[in-house]
Assembly symmetry: C2
Homo-oligomer: 244 residues x 2
Amino acid sequence: MFIKDGIEQDKEVIHSFLMIGQSNMAGRGEFSDVPVIRNRLCYMLRMGRWQTMREPVNPDRDIFEIKYHSGTSLAASFANEYAIDRGEAVGLIPCADGGTAINQWMPGKVLFDHAVMMTKLAMRSSKLSGILWHQGESDCKNDELLYSYKEKFKTMVAALRKELGAEDIPIIIGELSENISDDWNVGDRPSKLNKIFHELASEVPFCRVASSEGLNLKADGIHFDAKSAREFGKRYYQEYCELK
Amino acid sequence: MFIKDGIEQDKEVIHSFLMIGQSNMAGRGEFSDVPVIRNRLCYMLRMGRWQTMREPVNPDRDIFEIKYHSGTSLAASFANEYAIDRGEAVGLIPCADGGTAINQWMPGKVLFDHAVMMTKLAMRSSKLSGILWHQGESDCKNDELLYSYKEKFKTMVAALRKELGAEDIPIIIGELSENISDDWNVGDRPSKLNKIFHELASEVPFCRVASSEGLNLKADGIHFDAKSAREFGKRYYQEYCELK
């Protein structure tokens, strides 16, 4: 049984996934670089209701801007892989926001509360099935941010799961690129943060890390290109399958 | 003083407006038919935070679809007029959803709760200044829907104002087009609903109606074209000025 806008429908259950983090979860890939995903089993949340998934899924920025526009996200190919592999409906809850540091995702902050609200609305008509996280570039600016990341992440995930009444909900983290341009002043901190992600995966229940190895960045030196975003989403799905 | 993401900033106050209703509030005008609005005083809510306003403001549908894509909304030119006329910052809270009937906007329904949640988030960093409503085409399908509209609208507005703690917040209603194509099976009910709107404006406090006279529809016979959406937004602003 499927509930949509309060009305019972004879339709499949939507398995929903929360998208949170910064620009590489929101998606900055160029649409023209990859084929459009058209899958009738893939949905996205709009105004609390499910619409057929079309990119950009996560409209955190202007769509038509040349630089840093909302674009192709790893979450779209994650959803497509899920639907193809399982033959089940999947819905994305877009709550990622570009340029945000983990301090902005702590409980009580606008982004955290927004993600909780949207997920709760989505849960009226779907089965919450996982959380997709990609974030950390903004926390590679100095060592202090880097070394306080682990505890902040644990606090955030625990609070999020508690708010959603979903203590055992899987969360998949994606590695940062280790080829971020020097222009972004991150030094070797992305590789250090990737190590922290793997420690988190062993310390936080139901948590896995998707590898960024071999993925390519756009000319801006920080955002995954569209083809790599597609590949990254498949890796997120593979990690998800290790848990569920 | 301006509060953004919990941080006090020495910046102007954003005067925020909630966009609710169906497709002609969401906006279906063609971008290419009108000049882009670029006004540094105009913002839109994204993930609970303010971003510079760029259309489409209200991404309820696919952006790149040929038919019924998210497009130019009257709310964008409303915001632009407000900012130009008053020299003050204005922010839009996009919660409109195409094809929705007033029954779907009643208290407790997903769309109502979504609008309340988003407005409350917006109010952390803005001063709620008004509600923009355009809806009713979906309630012109039969007389029963038409004649129960008035009470439903009153119930919705009273509940919305109460939830937001904003009993005296202005609400501007826009008339339906009286030239909707016969393909939509609305008969002469749009003109009857327009009369009901004017009755509502005299019965509901702080409520005004913007005229649709002379505005043009797209070839689909139901959605205002982009130029008319721009004009309609100016009329909404004129009515707003009668109240504030």
